[in-house]
């Protein structure tokens, strides 16, 4: 009891002593309070029939009806599956491509070439998905697109790509790798650069070839980083990239079967269908499963790689 009082007093006196410092942190604290902590109570509307004019305190409570509605619809399985499936594709192909690029770049000793190719590979990372949707359109447009023009040269009839459900997981994966692999390769390359040079020198004395060095030294020593980054992505597997999917697919309902993810579904319920309570229920489902996954993967990471865990 006494201890507690002293602590409270200690904080007050600390504020008095470092008043200016506390003043400097105040704007950030206020912002975090409003857009962080104060948003938490709104999660309760998942259990309400939320009415904008009545607000969170006066809307009708309806228990788990919003969840029921979502899980009874056939959409629940589709969007959950799509979110996880697409993310898995992104993680696997993104990691493999980035890894391959970084290993190759590490072998090439012409610094200027490495530098230039690196800056070119990074370029897609800085472009918004909306601009990329125009790029995609240039390729896959029905009557003017490059892909159909190529098909035409081989005598194959043009395809209306924007109604081809089955093609889109592949297209999205390619675009995702195209945008992000250059960036990930830079991280991996930084890890390779951090490997102790004496290991390579010793290997060289023992007569190892470049290929052997790569497979026996570089790859094993990179594995912790690769595993940690992949596990972190697996932890976030319930969260899809809304920016990507919405920019590339938009409201194209014919593609929903393979491209609709939890995030786009929530967005539609909230902004287009105008049912914030159902949107919140789905969002809560996503958060709870997501939360478990983040902590689960983090615990795994911490167990196997002592300093790899995020928190």
């Amino acid at each position: 009891m006494e201890k507690k009082q002293r602590r409270g007093f200690g904080m007050l006196s600390d504020i008095r002593r470092n008043g200016t410092s506390y003043l400097l942190v105040l704007p950030a604290m206020a912002y975090t309070f409003i857009f962080g902590y104060m948003t938490y109570p709104y999660m309760l509307i998942a259990f309400q029939r939320f009415n904008y004019s009545k607000g969170i305190f006066h809307s009708e409570w309806i228990g788990l009806k919003n969840f029921e509605f979502f899980f009874r619809s056939n959409k629940a399985f589709t969007v959950t599956f799509n979110t996880i499936f697409l993310n898995l594709l992104f993680i696997v192909f993104g990691t493999l491509t980035a890894l391959a690029i970084s290993l190759i770049l590490n072998e090439l000793r012409k610094r200027l070439f490495v530098k230039i190719s690196q800056s070119i590979m990074l370029f897609p990372h800085f472009i918004s998905w909306i601009v990329i949707s125009y790029v995609l359109y240039a390729f896959f447009s029905m009557d003017m697109g490059i892909v159909n023009k190529l098909l035409n040269q081989f005598g194959i009839a043009p395809v209306n790509w924007y109604t081809e459900q089955q093609a889109w997981p592949a297209i999205l994966t390619v675009m995702h790798v195209w945008k992000g692999a250059g960036m990930s390769a830079v991280i991996y390359l930084a890890t390779i650069t951090g490997i102790d040079d004496t290991l390579y020198e010793a290997a060289e004395i023992d007569g190892a070839s470049r290929w052997q060095m790569c497979m026996r030294i570089t790859v094993p020593l990179m594995m912790p980083t690769v595993v940690i980054l992949s596990l972190l992505s697996v932890g976030k597997i319930m969260y899809g990239d809304f920016g990507m999917i919405y920019a590339l697919i938009g409201d194209n309902g014919t593609l929903y079967a393979t491209t609709d993810i939890i995030d786009t579904y929530v967005f539609r319920s909230l902004r287009q269908i105008g049912n914030p309570s159902e949107a919140m229920a789905v969002g809560l489902f996503q958060s709870v499963v997501g939360f478990i996954l983040v902590f689960g993967t983090n615990a795994i990471t911490r167990k196997f790689f002592k300093d790899g865990a995020l928190y």
Partner: protein
Amino acid sequence: MKTFSISKTVMYALITIYSALSLLPMLLVLMISVTDEDAILKNGYSLFPEKFSLYAYKLIFTGGSQVMRSYGISIIVTIIGTMLAILITSMAGYTLANKNVKYRNLLSLYFFITMIFSAGIVPWYLMNRSLGLTNNILALIIPSLLFSPFNLFLVRNFMNGVPDSLRESATIDGASDITIAFRIYLPLCKPVLATIALFYGLDYWNNWWNAIMLIDSKDLYPLQFMLLQMQSEISMLNEMTMLAGSSDITLPSESVKMATAVVTIGPIIFLYPYLQKYFVKGLVIGSVKG
């Protein structure tokens, strides 16, 4: 030795091809934007323009076009937003790195909690609505981007590296915390401030989330969102003309569409050398060690 050089050649070739593929799609968009409209309609999109024309750019840059207005909005939002965000972040970073502040770790935790646990988009939207952050320019600046805990920790970690003796001697000379923060710490922390400036700036420039959630009025569309709307309106109009069989609705021409996409990435290309340098640093710090 011969097989060795063959594998090297293959590796050079692979990297060259991958680099080319990184750039080629953007080049295609650029080429379509400078192709004559009739040539596009006749031959489809092509990397090699049959007939060169700057018509699209002339149309965009003549006064009063939607593109120019959205450009203005995006520039204003990016500049004001980035400056405010840097100010708030660096001030808070100073306090969290100030070893005289006894409860700095508690403060860090306060920021950290919101970083790992977010309520999601629905509460975020309802909060903005109740604050009146809809359909005004503040709705593009304040929500979601004004301040990010991740950048705060980046600044704090950098400032932790500034020797404490500097603060002590300044205090002995009679300097206040404000003076120390703004006259001593901030100038020393230029590298990390440049890093977060680029993070924030790029976030603001490429952001359309705030617009899609909170903005209805065309006058306030930022460039990215205008681009998104243009694409979806075209596909809608296409469907409508197909259904009605009439073609009296004029669609924005192909070259204008692509030219708009090109001018949207304009500032990024301009900033590219700096972007790359700082992003590589920031990313390596940020992603390997949270």
